[in-house]
Amino acid sequence: MEIPAELEARIDQEITHFPISKRSAALPLLHLIQEHFGYLEDEAIEWIAQKLGLQPINILELVTFYPMLRREPAGKHHIRVCRTLSCAMAGSYELLDTFCKHARIDRQHNGHGAHSLKSEDGKYSIEFVECLASCGFGPVCMIDDDFYESVTQEEVPQLLEKYQ
């Protein structure tokens, strides 16, 4: 794992935001590293721990706690569909099924709530997530960092088309 100089400069900048305790930079650093590498391998966890003067377990226990942090790569494009009540009432379970169908993700043996599923070609991964805070305009989803409201099942193919 090679940390590019530019990334390390951003990391050092981030640490300055916490003049009292470097440990506070743990989560921000995990975000930065995951954004760069796509996931958090053991080496990344050890690197952050060393950077902040902590034990690797102090970092690992965060990775295993926070739903957004992952230890293996997601698909090239990651889809998050909101599962929670208002979106479910607006059809988010059906939307998840439609995404899976068109993204060729097999969830035959995985129930709803399975953490993250990937298409065979690795192009897409999908995740049912809890409330994305746009409950009036459900069902909502995110593809990578982009946010979509009132998504209909008919729109799914053209949406996926945008993410190649």
Partner: protein
Amino acid sequence: MVSTIRTPHPREKRIIFKNIDRPGWTNDIGCYLHDGGYEELKKAFTMKPGQIVNEVKLSGLRGRGGAGFPCGVKWGFIRPGGTKPVYLICNADESEPGTFKDRYIIHQDPHQLIEGMIISCYAVNAQLAYIYIRGEFPEGAKILERALAEAKEHGFLGKNILGSGFDLEIYVFRGAGAYICGEETGLIESMEGKRPYPRIKPPYFPAALGLYLCPTIVNNVETLCNVKHIVRIGGAEYAKMGKPNNTGTRLLCVSGDVQKPGYYEFEVGAITIGELINDICGGMKPGRTLKAVIPGGSSAKVMSAKDRYKLKTKQPDGTMAETEMGLEDIPIDFDSLAAAGSMAGSGGVIVMDDSRDMVWALNNINEFYAHESCGQCTPCREGSLWMKKITGRMLHGGGVEQDTDTLKSVADNIAGRTICAFGEACAWPTQSFVAKFRDEFMGTAHKKGNGNGSTNS
């Protein structure tokens, strides 16, 4: 995907949301300054910090995150002249199901929040502040970072702001998908680089022991925005909006089975649940009738349209009298909803019509809490999972007749037995759904159950 421009309803009183969906409005500092932005900050610097705290006390402003605690009282816990540094954290971890208001402030009017924060920091003498934004708002985090850089370029942040002698830095801190970080002591643990396990109380307020065991104020996005307007018009004038003890305006987020769901801003208590649904949100969907309302985010107790509610109301001669009313007649304010057995909470109103299966709805909510329990306290970690398993098996076959009572018993054994209010938040839905729709739960257990209690559906 529908258009994102939404026109305010004529009955709204938009103060916090004045610039949301405003034609020609952009979220950069130029637009904000052109509209008179940061004038309240200049005004605040002509006042003493204690004066601002007093104005906020006078305003009666109550926290908009869910608990409704008086903001000025919270600030008053910070003793002036203390030796430890004071921190202020904006809780932008908006995650309560049914709530979607802070998203729009962050995306469309970030400088309103930042100005409110700078004034608040000056009032409590915090020289370092953070905005804890949920991880699922990546665009919002970028917008805030850009807005903070703009504010700094204009001299509203940094050293000796506008020649006042007051120094302040504000940084953005991103969460990573955990609802528990909305609990203020969990949030603080998260910011300290630890697992966000809420802290044992007392002390009840981070104002006593907060970030790095220093006095810390944690306020919701909407609350901090209100501070700007309190400085603008004064606490006494602000208190004229709304009702006594329920002052100002409130952002209401309506979702579920209404014709026009969305976000609205009204004077607190100015409208009833029925007016919100029928006049503002276009009523129920064709051919459907109102069955239930969750009035303040998914943690708030569900209210049935069939029930009658007894509320104390002020009579024309000034005396208080108990009035019985239907669900639709209850005014949406902190005290009325509390008196009716639920809460105004975070302002997230979820409306359900007669087509909705209450076991299905509760199961959805239970899945949320089972997923989000941090696992620190046994009653909540285990209980939230049991409740989810029970409603799950009732829905999918395998329910037994005792399930309805077991659900209540599990919930009763969580509430009041945990370190933080998540225990209540996950117990209240189950307690209220089972109490209000008992027949439906009993029916589902009977109808779908195979009698063996198996969870293997």
